[in-house]
Symmetry: C2
Amino acid sequence: MHYPEPISKLMESFMKLPGIGPKTAARLAFFVLGMKEDTVLDFAKALVDAKRNLSFCSVCGHITDVDPCQICQDTSRDRSMICVVQDPKDVIAMEKMRDYTGLYHVLQGAISPMDGIGPEDINVPSLLTRLQDEEVKELILATNPTIEGEATAMYISRLVRPSGIRTTRIAHGLPVGGDLEYADEVTLSKALEGRRELS
Amino acid sequence: MHYPEPISKLMESFMKLPGIGPKTAARLAFFVLGMKEDTVLDFAKALVDAKRNLSFCSVCGHITDVDPCQICQDTSRDRSMICVVQDPKDVIAMEKMRDYTGLYHVLQGAISPMDGIGPEDINVPSLLTRLQDEEVKELILATNPTIEGEATAMYISRLVRPSGIRTTRIAHGLPVGGDLEYADEVTLSKALEGRRELS
């Protein structure tokens, strides 16, 4: 006899989440016991609602509770630009910035031959369909600055080139607030390569 | 527009848990979206069940789904010994050891004048009632080796002394597998003080 069954079941559920081991699960489960019943019920409801009511936008692939998503529906946005990102969280990061008013396309991953992920396994075909249908003038490739992200950007760029749509890649360089001394050589080399005239 | 509402609500719920900030909450919430629906429903049910079906044992104060708890109900256990601990998790730790067959008493805290916690705020009165009613011969004080835990053990020991019940305190010393070199001086002093004849 270790934990009473309801608490060990709750611990098992917590342990299915990433980065939560037996000790953290026990701590969280005991914390839940000390929470108000309403708060726990809200938590349970939020879990079920998130799972049941969220899906991927049929246009851009972003996570949404309405289809098409609010961004795709927003008529005030610039429909001539599509920013291609790997993950719904990247859309959130871009939106927090408030500088971008175009549309998005969420790939839900990146091309990775090592993991057997090809262009058909991520949302590349739907991107090509969008480019045929819509009045798109610029495709901003904002995949991650990793090997997979770079390869994906390169692949899409070559695929789109014949259509005459302008394809751009977000800049690589030193992060704002960073320190030259601690920058890795690849970043530094990219920063030097991407240098611009001071006006 | 940042996150769709269902996911931001789920993130808020995760953020109410200890040690979970906005970034971890987002990671967990997105992970939940990728889980099977059944698993998510089980998680939600586990939360509600744990909150609704668990209470504290009316005898020993341990967390339980039946009252009195399974340990108090177990007739094979030695009813002449009560081990006093601060927390239900301490009972679990003791039970994992499998060496102790007596009963428990969970204080749900320790005396701490700094935090305004006196003997009446923790399960000391119910312990005294148990000592009058039952055939208890030994009280093992297994509160934590902290200032509050020591003070609580000392307090209970003085309170119980007139009744003639044997009160013992678990040993302090070097943890097994520990290193003398890295032991703090208080632990080392306790270890020296508690030295025993080798037989």
